[in-house]
Amino acid sequence: MASETLTKEATQKKDEKETLKKVSIVISRGTLEGVYPGLIMANGARMEGIEANIFFTFFGLNAIHKKKMKKIKVDTVGNPALGIPPIVGIIPGLNRMVTKMFIKEMDKLDIPPIDEFLEMIAATGAKMYACKAAMDMFHYKREDLIDEVADVLTVGQFYEVAAGGEIIFT
């Protein structure tokens, strides 16, 4: 009997399309290519009606730091995927040029610059949080961060916020 019930349940489950309800995305890196995937995923989740949180930690905090957010760049040193010789990557100003190119290409796809993107994401109802340990480590204050940040959380509090959903680390 029990197995019959189980089979029935399994069939029912198969018929229903599975959907994600909630995602919590950790952004831990402070380069352009480290920040954007998490932002696009969080925004994309909201576009699908999925609840979304973003937790900025370590150098990821730069993305929500009022002054540092404007200086985020593509990493041209030690990034073989760029396809340029490693020695070229260290040329002063190169990362600024590459970053400019990336931002231009992204703009063509209507992917906004970081400041506008964060405003948009906050407007979708996604919640943004900063990691307390990283804030303490870098000696950042709450007022150093953009107003859209909902709160500064310990890792324990982050898990409470993320409860019942998927966690994605980037």
Partner: protein, 105 residues
């Protein structure tokens, strides 16, 4: 392509119910499609978004993104999520008689 009768007009739709030909669209169809999406009444603000999307598509041949609806259409993101809950880009495109948006933003 399957066909479907919406508001008394038989039109071609894709597997998810998006109109195949934007020219098949009319305001009565929009009202019906909105109901299917759980929006019982289209307000003036809804129509502003719908007409902007159709006009922009006509001019540029691309379904406008949320950012474009915000910047060029003048509708704040927050309002878009209120008007078309749980997926404004897709829902608004569907009601506007356009195909499913293919972009990631």
């Amino acid at each position: 392509m399957p066909t479907k009768t919406i508001a008394g007009k038989t039109v071609e739709v894709d597997a998810e119910g998006f109109l195949v030909n934007p020219d098949d669209w009319n305001e009565d169809i929009a009202k019906e499609l909105a109901k299917e999406e759980g929006i019982n009444e289209l307000t003036e603000m809804h129509w502003k978004v719908i007409h902007f999307m159709r006009q922009d598509y006509k001019e540029r041949g691309q379904i406008p993104t949320i950012r474009r609806i915000k910047n060029a259409g003048g509708v704040p993101v927050q309002d878009l999520y209120k008007l078309f809950p749980d997926g404004p880009a897709k829902k608004a495109a569907k009601i506007a008689g356009l195909s499913k948006p293919q972009g990631c933003v």
